[in-house]
Subunit: 210 residues, 2 copies
């Protein structure tokens, strides 16, 4: 509720500041903490046969949610507990962590777009009913902007394009190579990881521009 | 030795690529991990009366060194052990941590230039012989470039100026508000913290440009 009001106020202020569609709208930031998308097979191993995820909170992207369930990542040099599962279940398991998390765990996941897990880093995932040894699936997610076709038209960008995002503030600058992802279920949001957020003092809900 | 060869090769290649002083030289990156500069008084409390620091390794900046000694930082939400002391002893104690470290400890240090600790965050520092409760002294160090007067002339910048640095690579872009610091004891080096390094995939020795 509060979040919705904030969004509406931000949208109104931006509309006022930008005039009637004269300049492209700002893009809200969404900071992604470390998380895991699980396959049905791995969910069964980690939580037991027939187990299904419990929704805790809807995410901004339509159909996506944070589950109540968490897992533990065990790497060669360290452990990270309480890593949130994002639902719904996917075709394959993918874990998105920051470079900092990689150092803690002792693994060096490649920088990849979501879904591109071929040859990525491995890890052991532990749940309350069992463990899965992944040979690949761990990535540092490359920053990207979710949007619908109407946003893409307004922002004059296309699905798959790489753009530069301008960041304001004392730790501002620009981020190059930001992937545009267009889909009817997407809502306008610039996804960065916690390293990118902490390095630039960006927080979820901050506004950036192309 | 190996590092020196790398530096020489990099310098030679850059000189070749840039021509004879046609374009400004590249600037090597130095990633600063969390560290503490201690006052003589606090050193005595932490390590005992009459204690002096033992040099472990010279830093690139002339006269600065990493000491053998480390301390433990204790915050309201977490602890970070083995935080390196950098010598020599200073007039006041200053602790430089990343935003990520701040979250681990449960404190929110302001982004500041080195030396500007008025009203910064507090922390408890623990050594083998005692503890110090700092009311202020913890900062997130604002990124900056150390250089000598000759470098400043070549790069056409002045002490105290804020410049924009260009970062290459898949996580490239620009960093605004980079402070220029000119001093005879400085050697050309772009200092960033571990959050900035991890967010951009920069490592010590990488080359950036203005």
């Amino acid at each position: 509720m509060e979040q919705k009001i904030v969004e509406q106020v931000v949208a109104r202020i931006l509309a006022e500041m930008c005039g009637e569609g004269q300049t492209p709208p700002g893009i809200p930031v969404g900071v992604s903490n470390r998380h895991i998308h699980v396959s049905a097979e791995h969910l069964a191993t980690l939580f037991g046969q027939g187990y299904s995820l419990t929704k805790e909170k809807d995410l901004k992207q339509i159909g996506e949610y944070a589950a109540k369930e968490t897992v533990t990542l065990v790497g060669p040099k360290g452990i990270i507990a309480k890593v949130r599962i994002l639902g719904p279940v996917r075709n394959f398991t993918q874990i998105e962590i920051s470079r900092t998390d990689g150092f803690s765990l002792g693994i060096a996941p490649p920088l990849r777009d979501s879904g591109q897990i071929e040859g990525s880093a491995g890890i052991v995932v532990v749940g309350p009913m069992g463990a899965v040894t992944l040979r690949q699936g761990v990535i540092c997610a490359a920053r990207h902007i979710h949007m619908q076709a109407a946003d893409a038209q307004r922002l004059k960008v296309a699905d798959g394009e790489r753009v530069t995002v301008k960041l304001a503030g004392p730790r501002g600058g620009t981020f190059d190579n930001v992937l545009i992802r267009v889909h009817p279920n997407f809502r306008l949001e610039f996804h960065i990881d916690t390293d990118e957020a902490n390095a630039t003092e960006l927080k979820t809900g901050d506004i950036v521009s192309l």
